[in-house]
Subunit: 735 residues, 2 copies
Amino acid sequence: MFFRTVCSCLLIITRRKSVHLLPSSSLFFNKSKFYSSWGSTKDHRNFKVKLSLFMDPKSEEILAPFRASVKEQGDLVRSLKADGATEIEIKKAVAELKVRKKILEDKELELAPAAATFDRAKMEDLLKRRFFFDQSFAIYGGISGQYDFGPMGCALKANMLNAWRKFFILEEQMLEVDCSILTPEPVLKASGHVDRFADLMVKDVVNGECFRLDHLIKAALENIARDKKTSEEVRTECQDIVIKLDGMTKDDMSAVLKKFKIRSPLTGNELTEPIEFNLMFGTQIGPSGLIKGFLRPETAQGIFVNFKRLLEFNNGKLPFAAAQIGNAFRNEISPRSGLIRVREFTMAEIEHFCDPSDKRHNKFKNVRDTKMLLYSACNQMDGKSAELKTIGEAVDTGLVANETLGYFMARIQTYMIRIGVDPSRLRFRQHMSNEMAHYACDCWDAECLTSYGWIECVGCADRAAFDLSQHSKATNVRLMAEKKLPQPKTISVTEIQPNKPVIGKTFKQKAKAIVDVLSSYSIDEIMSFKNKLEADKEATILIGEEPIKITQEMASIKMYDKVVHVDEFFPSVIEPSFGIGRIMYALFEHNFRFREGDEQRSFFALPPLVAPIKCSILPLSSNAEFEPFVIKLSNALTNLNVSHKVDDASGSIGRRYARTDEIAIPFGITIDFDTLKEPYSATLRERDSMSQLRIKLEELPGVVADLADGRLAWSDAQKKYPKFEQQESTKHGEE
Amino acid sequence: MFFRTVCSCLLIITRRKSVHLLPSSSLFFNKSKFYSSWGSTKDHRNFKVKLSLFMDPKSEEILAPFRASVKEQGDLVRSLKADGATEIEIKKAVAELKVRKKILEDKELELAPAAATFDRAKMEDLLKRRFFFDQSFAIYGGISGQYDFGPMGCALKANMLNAWRKFFILEEQMLEVDCSILTPEPVLKASGHVDRFADLMVKDVVNGECFRLDHLIKAALENIARDKKTSEEVRTECQDIVIKLDGMTKDDMSAVLKKFKIRSPLTGNELTEPIEFNLMFGTQIGPSGLIKGFLRPETAQGIFVNFKRLLEFNNGKLPFAAAQIGNAFRNEISPRSGLIRVREFTMAEIEHFCDPSDKRHNKFKNVRDTKMLLYSACNQMDGKSAELKTIGEAVDTGLVANETLGYFMARIQTYMIRIGVDPSRLRFRQHMSNEMAHYACDCWDAECLTSYGWIECVGCADRAAFDLSQHSKATNVRLMAEKKLPQPKTISVTEIQPNKPVIGKTFKQKAKAIVDVLSSYSIDEIMSFKNKLEADKEATILIGEEPIKITQEMASIKMYDKVVHVDEFFPSVIEPSFGIGRIMYALFEHNFRFREGDEQRSFFALPPLVAPIKCSILPLSSNAEFEPFVIKLSNALTNLNVSHKVDDASGSIGRRYARTDEIAIPFGITIDFDTLKEPYSATLRERDSMSQLRIKLEELPGVVADLADGRLAWSDAQKKYPKFEQQESTKHGEE
């Protein structure tokens, strides 16, 4: 349930909010010049925390009033809550708090030391030119929010997912499932998506163009505020509304539309009243047109509805985790921001089921000392920065709710860094109590800093028993687990004993529904039924909306003692949920580099683990003598399952290196005239350092396989094999 | 475009046919007792051709009249074609031919030597009980044609796909893509799916229940024919219609409905007229409700619409192949037959693009000697059996159209056998000319024999340039490749030169459409336009449906010579298309075994390559001393990426072996009291032979990894390590 916050918010505030994603029209954030401390070819994968953590004193001085402003508002929210203020008052105060937080955050980013500027247009050009990904159906004009992954994007994605499978499913022996995408309505009704997974929108009454309401109001009021003719009073009002937009109801926004006479931006036409637009793609299953279905908006529900089978597969024992990798779909009103907000995306979700009274994790000791950048709800309210802490400390002090949640947070961080996320641009942000679903008890998002701001890439929530109990209610199937009691206990049972023959005779087809209702009663309902039956000799029950009279002849109340050996309970669910496309986008930004002094030679410094292709084979020229060596090396690499690319095009070796660098190939074998002489050998070049070694052909495929799989580090290879002296700079000069 | 035959048929006969799948209500085929020569625990993966190839003379005697009957009809079809008979006459004759073929095939299966009976119910029980797969949303009542894969099915599927990726994409350096599932209407309009991807159905006028028309008629007429009161004449007529059903039009079938007064089977209500029901799931993309989209019915179109990007990625060079693994969706009217006919399924498709004038393949020499069971169109017409031939011979004699097609057929066979398909139940059946899409020049289906009959699992077609030219027409984007001419050639160009200023002034917004139309004219259209313009001083053209007058002032005709250096052409496409769910189902049937003499001990003999879990670790008892060894082994296996399962439940070792056999775990490590003594060692057991070796703990994880990855055969391990003497039979007896 990645992005569930989205859905969860709905459960509280009736409409979806995009809390973590800075709108691209942000007033405060200059996207094209995004300052941070990277951009050189140096490897930043070692753990250094730079951004928004350690500010120099001068910057802190500038930030002080912003921090104070956040804290002031945080304190207001706390006191409103303590004083039992109304929900709407609290919401408004929280909306203001968020805006102040965002201003502070932008200021922090602005003040962070700038080593280079990030040029998103250049990166996007490279991604498009080498077909990492591109718009779907472009020859038909394309559809926004849909992307096709080309060979490089597809291989990167497959490698990320393979690494995920090994790191989570294999290492933790999780139960992987692969469930249907088409989901019948009742399932998503129970999960809350049918009723609440919606955004507010308005339509142009003439041409039918649709606008997401909050985006539209924000843009319109910003325009008004910018207008020189606008009075200071109106300007303040506009800014005030923009700040409070997140907390507004449908009616509030409708009033704003009217007050400011907001119209369709391009045509100037009238707009409809706000409409709640459900974000799920609907369809009909089967030919009758009667079975309504949706494309799943998340993969998690497939796991919940299979809970009983999975528990049985695990021999009835808790804890266990199930996982699923698959596509989910959301019909965004106006998708933008490239891979970050799309209509079709791949998720990888884990649902860890455990005893709600015991959320310890037997491998927590292995991760206890992992240092993480934690941005607690409390710090967010106080205007403070994220803090570096060990996860052990965070769990011990209760900042992170329990060991299992903490264990997964640490594992998520290790995975993210291993696949190439820059640790200095990764943080875990705790949901503030008003963002969190009402059923969740703690939730942390792994966020990556990109030129779009901090974006949520992985959600990690303790969701308690919400989904299992919802599906149980909807289906009457008890999605519960059992645990053996230390000793048997005696419980008193009170139940309604229906006289089935009489009920059957009296009510015919309705009999079963009546018996079901009687057996579904809670103890309070049973007692009230009993009292009525005794007082009036009959009691009225509801079957759907139809009242049915039950007489004393039809039912009696039975009370008895029963010895039980097990306790039945709804398991708690801890849910790490990965948005693969967003993580991939963060990887692109975090690994985009230029060669020093050459703005034209851009490349991706992706780790070998996820690099789309592990090795290139480059014959120095088209000399026919090279060919048998190329074929032999290629076959040997294939046998070792090393993906590789032969580039025998013309062009200098430097130019061809640059071409393989662009698609992130970490290792390159060059076959030159020395290769033809005994002892046969070739050059092996590493992408990031551009350093080269000379290695015998018989050893070379094995060395490349070890480097590609991470069994051998380049620095160790450098100790073992002689350096190749001809420098690439020379070759580059030859071009 | 797996199952494309389906779609292709439509292109000819206006409705979809399921040619290869025996309907489960078949008159001729006894499903529950399915005879073949397996069922023992012996490994049948060595290549032996038994079924329907070599019949004993007595069986051949029985089959002779059936073969003659097919040949007679085949000859009739041939002569009808030669005499230029009408399409409908040919169709009817072909329908009859197919029925005779089917009767012959069923007879062959019936006569094949029976070593054991296959019990589908037992296999399905095991698949369900150990959660290989099961119905989706079962707690909500489920939806037919949708399945969820549990941990074992999911791992098997992932292993099949990984093997596929290595075998095809990595070895052939194909370009893998991952395209959108939601597809806008115009794309599927161009591919022919919007208009022709439909089945005929009728509805119960009262309750709206839907029936696939051909299935309904067949069942109804079979009922009538079975009725004792039915006259011999009517019985013959019914049988005749059932035979011809495949070739009938909508009107023919409507007449049958009326003539036999066929009604809704359960309710006896009236039925509607036949309706063409498109099998694609429709939805709306975006909030306006105006962009109509479908869930893709195959993955291939995503590759075709990306052709230009892929060609560019390959530096403009042919041949190259692109591949895609992904889900596709078909809204079947009444899905049945388990995994074989479903609404949501995974496909793996390859589109190999090549020069239409050169379909040689540079690796064909590597597969030339591969022996394959080929069931040619010619043999099908003549009532002959499939024949065992090398693919080299088949290509040389022109039976298989070209090397590239032959290369892929051989590769498909190798892949199928490697993952566990029984070679004796695998054949390649050539499409008869009437089954084949009109644009395809040759098509072979890899079919697996199952208890449902021979089912199409992989299609392999030479599709010529159909899709690329369709999408080019629809978009005006030229999806073509270029090849350098041996020497430049001079061509004469004739084109209409529009006078843009005049057209613009006269027609305003319509000007662009007019210029586009004029530039899209073929040479014939240009000449006719020229003649009119010269004769009448004006010519009328159509913009959409609006006639527009073009005067001599607005356009002139230009003729000139041009030197060209390249030839532009639409590449041909060879398409292997794998239905993963169907292959998986064949794997289940082909690898379902019983222990000799124990009908209760069933298991799956899946090859280690695809087995869901590679190894089990079983401590002999719950003795605490075993635990550190279990943990150490488990960690070592994880480090080697060997999936494994620890089963420390109580129960005899024999019972636990049986449990791991059920989920196809090929290797089992048992930790016993000897393990505790130096030199530490444990028992390794192989599933199919149940033989056991004693191996030192330090070597064990490596040995298991080698066995699991196929680097080491069990027979070689047996030569290297001592046999473990205590026989399982004893242990089994202990239970």
